[in-house]
């Protein structure tokens, strides 16, 4: 496969996952705005959305103040925001357009139709009351595209690159979300068990669309930080956990190695990351320091990506 083809497939999936993550963040913020008396938490929430997406400075340089409507527009439609949903969808389509012969007609159609329906929205003025519908449109379409990929693509190397793009983005994004809010997960005597805590934790779960899943996994017991850390980092069944993403990345990198008949004995970085995660407990993470753990994790994943890029995308 052409190196650029592999790269375009990877980034198609990565941008789609990013668009999906951004609207999930918006969904959480939207929920908060519906709850009375959360003035303070509410402002914090908007700030942390910007921080999680890594675009707080970009935003402030343009709009100067934290304001709900403006942030929504900035995240959904603003051309000046390189990670706006609009730009993510455009980039995803541009990438897939360059390799449209490497995906099935169904996959291309799904991405292309998504692009057109989202662009219809950009032609109209944005009103904040439209937010729930837009969130729904994006989530529905991204899920449709992913399903189409799984249902129609040949499981060849191109498939692996698509899936890798998805999980590299998710690993990175989940780690950032936890990191931005790590302070609410730390045991502190003054706040433990208070309403605020519970509320914040449930929001965190919602922001990775795992609130319901958490209940399934842990029953109806009280939410606490140990369970949340376990769920979002170490749980092998939670599709949003770091563990899950790393397992997928490791599996698909291995498939590529087999596909290209590479030397199997050559140890890879992702194996080390995965092995480490398997052995960890929540207490180990807390001992290391949650923030330190996440920083190392994000760095590790980015090294794994650099290796992948060097090996498959630069191709010389």
């Amino acid at each position: 496969m052409l190196s650029r083809t592999a790269e375009n497939l990877y980034w198609t999936a990565r941008y789609l996952e990013r668009a999906d993550s951004i609207v999930r963040l918006l969904e959480v913020a939207y929920r908060i705005s519906l709850i009375p008396n959360t003035k303070e938490g509410y402002d914090n929430e908007w700030e942390s959305i910007l921080a999680t997406s890594g675009i707080k400075n970009e935003y402030l340089s343009i709009y100067k103040e934290i304001k709900k409507e403006k942030i929504e527009f900035f995240l959904l439609f603003d051309d000046r925001n390189s990670s706006s949903v609009k730009n993510c969808i455009t980039s995803a389509r541009e990438n897939i357009k360059m390799v449209r012969t490497a995906v099935t007609l169904e996959v291309w159609n799904a991405v292309n139709s998504f692009f057109y329906s989202y662009f219809d929205l950009t032609k109209k003025k944005y009103y904040t009351k439209d937010l729930p519908e837009i969130i729904d449109l994006v989530k529905r379409n991204v899920n449709l595209i992913k399903g189409t990929i799984i249902n129609t693509q040949l499981l060849n190397d191109g498939f692996d690159f698509l899936i890798l793009g998805n999980y590299f983005e998710r690993a990175d994004f989940t780690a950032r979300i936890i990191d931005v809010k790590y302070f609410i997960l730390l045991p502190s005597t003054s706040l433990i068990g208070t309403q605020i805590d519970n509320f914040q934790w449930s929001l965190m779960l919602r922001s990775v669309s795992s609130y319901r899943a958490f209940k399934w996994a842990y029953g109806n017991s009280e939410i606490d930080y140990i369970k949340i850390i376990d769920f979002l980092i170490l749980n092998s069944k939670c599709p949003r956990s770091l563990f899950f993403s790393v397992e997928k990345i490791s599996y698909h990198l291995k498939r590529l190695k087999n596909h290209y008949k590479e030397n199997k004995n050559f140890p890879s970085k992702i194996e080390n990351v995965f092995r480490k995660l398997k052995k960890l407990s929540v207490n180990d993470i807390l001992d290391e320091g949650l923030h330190e753990f996440l920083t190392t994790f994000i760095k590790d994943i980015s090294t794994v990506y650099s290796d992948l890029e060097k090996k498959y995308f630069l191709g010389s």
Binding site: M1, L2, S3, R4, T5, A6, E94, K97, M98, R100, T101, L105, W108, N109, N112, S113, Y116, F119, D157, L256, Y260, Y312, L314, G315, S316
Partner: protein
């Protein structure tokens, strides 16, 4: 003006069935089918980019559902004419870049060749594989009456539109399967495999084994990008950009996930001057540094050859009948359109004095730009062009205002005549000539307009060649 469907108040025989069918179609069916067809095109992504459009810079080429039809005998003549022209064009290019006998014989003026911007001096003396410079030619043909098909233009560089020929057919077959059951219509879907076959016959000297073909595109922003990816897909070859290729030790490679892979034939869809920054434009990133050296040392073939555009220049066009006679000793099967060359003082005078009756074209212009239709121009425009011609006569030719034939379109669900042209795509390789029985019909959607170019409001039609 020749009406291809109704002549002397009777329906011409190739259109018999279709005309009755079209007349009988209920209005709302037509509208419904038009919307369906448009959605299909949009879904497949058949679009072309428009450079001066800020928004989503992609548009659909309007597609009209009423087919253009040619009988078997009409097609045989067109095919003979195109084949003759393709052979002559390649013989001409080979001669011009070697002994230049045609200049020595004083058939074509020397300066028309050597001062021509499309003439590539670096190609002189180089033997291109199998002496084929331009394997893919799109010939623009117009019909003037019952008998005459005339050539308006030869496109020898990177003619586009063949994807529309194939997609238009796909759409028509989906929309109106009943027509294909009742009429005997020649298929067009073998074009991609013909193209592979033709290109493989042009493998470079140092190629061993089955030649590896790639299509070289300027990228997804190019107006014909859809076509590039469409062809790559149907031909089963890689679609590459300049940055996907590199040259090492004169060998051209593409970068793959499994390391470098050697390639043998580049079907390039980028212009000469972007091919290799070491040879041509050195500020361009579209090309491949060193690929011309790889080409000249026989490791890779570039189709069409650099400098092949010389043969489709509008000034050289006027000599095409002489070129055919000179190399083949035959009379041209397809006639040229009467053309005045402004570099000739006498002809130029005629042009200036009769401007309102003529179409004036820039010699190197294309896409319907840089063109004046005398009858439709204002006094001011006529004067501007007079000055332009006087200043630089060599840059202009003039032709009579053509009576392009008409075929109806569905205009808001009723039939209305519009002007059309015809572009078949011929393929010439080593001792091989291939032409699918079909073509692209371009149609001017504005009533009475003669400009069929898609960039200026033209649309397309499916083109049927009936089997005997």
């Amino acid at each position: 003006m020749f009406n291809e469907v109704i002549n002397k108040s009777t329906v011409r025989s190739p259109y018999n069935k279709v005309f009755n069918w079209a007349e009988a179609l209920p209005k709302n069916t037509i509208l419904k089918k038009q919307i369906q067809a448009e959605n299909l095109f949009k879904k497949i992504g058949v679009t072309f980019s428009v450079y001066n459009n800020y928004d989503v810079s992609e548009r659909l080429i309007p597609f009209d559902l009423f087919p253009r039809i040619l009988s078997a005998s009409e097609w045989i003549k067109i095919e003979r004419g195109i084949k003759q022209r393709s052979i002559a064009i390649n013989a001409f290019l080979n001669d011009v870049y070697h002994r230049a006998e045609i200049i020595k014989a004083k058939i074509i003026p020397e300066k028309l060749i050597y001062n021509n911007p499309a003439y590539d001096i670096k190609m002189v003396g180089f033997n291109v594989p199998k002496n084929i410079y331009s394997p893919i030619i799109g010939t623009d043909i117009i019909r003037t009456n019952e008998i005459d098909f005339k050539v308006l233009e030869d496109n020898c560089r990177t003619p586009s539109g063949v994807s529309y020929m194939i997609e238009n057919r796909e759409i028509m077959m989906r929309m109106f399967p009943e027509l294909f059951q009742s009429l005997n219509i020649e298929a067009v879907d073998s074009y991609p495999s013909y193209l592979v076959d033709i290109l493989k016959s042009l493998a470079p000297k140092k190629c061993k084994g089955d030649p590896k073909i790639v299509i070289l595109t300027p990228g997804h922003l190019n107006s014909a990008y859809y076509e590039h990816s469409f062809l790559a897909d149907l031909m089963g070859v890689e679609l590459v950009q300049g940055s996907d290729l590199f040259v090492n030790n004169n060998i051209t490679y593409m970068k793959t996930t499994e390391g470098p892979k050697k390639i043998d034939i580049i079907y390039r869809r980028i212009d000469d001057e972007y091919l290799d920054p070491l040879y041509y434009k050195n500020d361009s990133l579209l090309g491949v540094p060193g690929v011309i050296t790889s080409y000249k040392t026989g490791y890779v073939n570039i189709c069409s050859a650099p400098g092949a555009g010389l043969a489709d220049d509008k000034a050289v066009y006027t000599f095409m009948p002489d070129i055919i006679k000179f190399y083949l000793g035959e009379e041209p099967v397809l006639k040229n359109i009467k053309t005045w060359r402004c570099y000739d003082v006498k002809e130029c005078k005629y042009v200036i004095n009769n401007l309102e009756k003529l179409v004036v074209k820039e010699v190197h212009g294309s896409g319907g730009y840089g063109m004046l239709i005398g009858s439709k121009a204002s006094k001011k425009e006529l004067n501007i062009f007079k000055n332009k011609i006087n200043k630089d006569p060599e840059n202009f030719i003039a032709q009579p205002i053509l009576e392009l034939s008409t075929v109806p379109i569905f205009d808001k669900s009723s039939l209305s005549d519009r002007h059309v042209d015809l572009r078949p795509f011929s393929l010439i390789g080593h001792k091989k000539f291939k032409l699918v029985s079909g073509a692209l019909t371009r149609v001017a959607l504005k009533k009475n307009s003669l400009i069929v170019n898609s960039s200026q409001g033209g649309g397309v039609k499916d083109t049927w060649v009936l089997a005997d």
